[in-house]
Symmetry: C2
Subunit: 331 residues, 2 copies
């Protein structure tokens, strides 16, 4: 039987530090936490909380609820969540959503999950309400719902989009287009508000004719760019709701023979790996997606293992502009 | 309590057809199977096999073992497997592999999974041996191991790569380069053999100096193309082990200022969505990945639910060339 003393020895720290590190205490450095987790994993150490949890009937399974597995965003989220949960002895169970959210909630509840990571929540989602009713802990990842407070790991789009607006103004753009995400997601709403406010500060605005809106997917970007680039006069820059949308928009421009950034500039949001490809070189807004995914998993483990009520924690991750090749001076 | 008669009514078929459709009998058309599955799902119908399974102590959880979630190939595999399993009342549990495969096998076994889909098996994998020892059913998806026979859903690369070789010869290429996958995977070995044989029939060969080998990832393609394109004379065409490798290679060419297909042609394998992007237009070898993923899940459900031993089934999916913009006449 491996004990926390064995982990302490391997990690080169004291036994109390092992406990604190595995509880993700703020008193332990990130580097030490990493070392302790690696040691725990290498030894197959199961913390005593786990022992208590097992005897209390927990399943050690955490659900990840999402809609669109083929959206390139989610694969990059699944791996860090998985690794974080694994370090605490939990399994990740994938759940894909259907249209009937009450049914989805019932299925989650009947699956006996210890908790659920909600990654594709809409502002009016029923699932959080049902989970709370039934006492199933959950954490919002990236998106939140209005009705129900919970622990959350989200992005603050303001710093990154303020940089975008300043850059757009400095490069002499006057006709700004935008392809926004769906109005029933907190991320789309926050990004739209942040962009409009930041452009306003620069004396710029997005005309209603230069606005397109749709799901956060490739087709929205492709169709949106086709529409906006077909207008006369067309926008000189298009800001996209996320990178997947921007990839659709860049490909539409390619099909239309509209040169990026010579004829039109484009900006994304998320900084997915494909944004950095030499073939793409997308200027975009970045944040620490890996840390955010791990944080969401970590918040949920703490919530699941808490022995008494705790205040909700809202971890907010900052954003910044990543300059690549798709934002240049207005033509 | 929903019965098979309710499903039959909703699907507009007879009750025996419902049973046959949910067992994936060859006597029922694909269209009818789809309709029955949709009806079963809509009504929340749990087949009687499931009832028996539940009372026999099954967990209704199927593991998917893979190494590289961020490889763009796997997200496209997870969704169809998930949907197929869901239709039979099983949950998909993700498992990522570490370096110690015996440990991984123990973890899979201790998790009480009803069966495991092996998606990243190497030819010398220990996991299949351990699973068989412990009586845990498994199915090979895409890759197989040498030591242990099992149900499998794999690709036959020969037809697609034969087309590639004929096209390469017809377009006047004489210096053929290749970036192969790792020698310990059945897919890399089969594709290499198929390509070499097919080129040989055309009187062509891949020089050892024009060969690069590495994991099936972006960096292998990027580094391989940098190496091969740095040679003098360089190959006029590079055939890549898969599309992710080809994307790396295309991006290396872009960085080097080598025009595709004017200066060098490139070919992929898998036909991932990004291969069809206007910015990429990758000529590649395609197969029905969705059907293959569903088939693997289906084979595993049948194996899990079989009440007596059955011969192994090897479902092999054909391949064909998809002509886009990266394979043209030798410069």
């Amino acid at each position: 039987m491996v004990t926390s003393h064995d982990v302490a020895r391997l990690a080169g720290v004291s036994q109390p530090t092992v406990s604190r590190a595995l509880r993700d205490s703020g008193k332990v450095s990130e580097e030490t936490k990493r070392r302790v987790r690696q040691a725990a994993k290498a030894l197959g150490y199961v913390p005593s909380e786990t022992g208590r949890a097992l005897s209390s009937g927990r399943t050690r399974r955490i659900g990840l609820l999402l809609t669109d597995l083929e959206n390139q965003f989610y694969p990059h989220v699944i791996a860090p969540m998985h690794h974080e949960l694994e370090a605490y002895g939990y399994q990740l169970v994938l759940q894909t959503e259907t249209t009937d959210t009450a049914t989805v909630a019932e299925r989650l509840i009947s699956n006996g999950l210890d908790g659920v990571l909600l990654a594709t929540t809409t502002v009016d989602s029923v699932v959080p309400v049902r989970l709370r009713d039934r006492g199933v802990p959950f954490v919002y990842f990236n998106r939140t719902a209005d009705a129900m407070e919970a622990d959350s790991a989200t992005v603050d789009p303001v710093p990154g989009l303020s940089e975008v607006a300043r850059e757009i103004a400095a490069l002499g753009h006057r006709r700004v287009g935008a392809i926004f995400g769906p109005r029933n997601t907190s991320t789309a709403l926050q990004r739209e508000t942040a962009l409009r406010d930041a452009l306003d500060e620069q004396g710029l605005a997005i005309g209603s004719a230069a606005t397109h809106r749709g799901p956060f997917d490739f087709d929205t970007g492709y169709e949106g760019a086709q529409r906006l680039l077909g207008r006369d006069p067309r926008p000189t820059v298009i800001v996209c709701g996320n990178d997947v949308v921007a990839l659709g928009a860049l490909n539409a421009a390619k099909d239309l023979g509209v040169a990026v950034p010579d004829d039109v500039s484009m900006v994304g949001f998320d900084d997915l790996p494909a944004a950095a490809w030499p073939l793409v070189r997308l200027t975009t807004v970045a944040f620490d997606l890996d840390a955010m995914a791990r944080k969401a998993a970590n918040l949920l483990v703490r919530r699941v293992e808490a022995e008494e009520p705790q205040p909700y924690e809202h971890a907010v991750f900052g954003t910044h502009l990543v300059r690549r090749g798709t934002l240049a001076a207005a033509g």
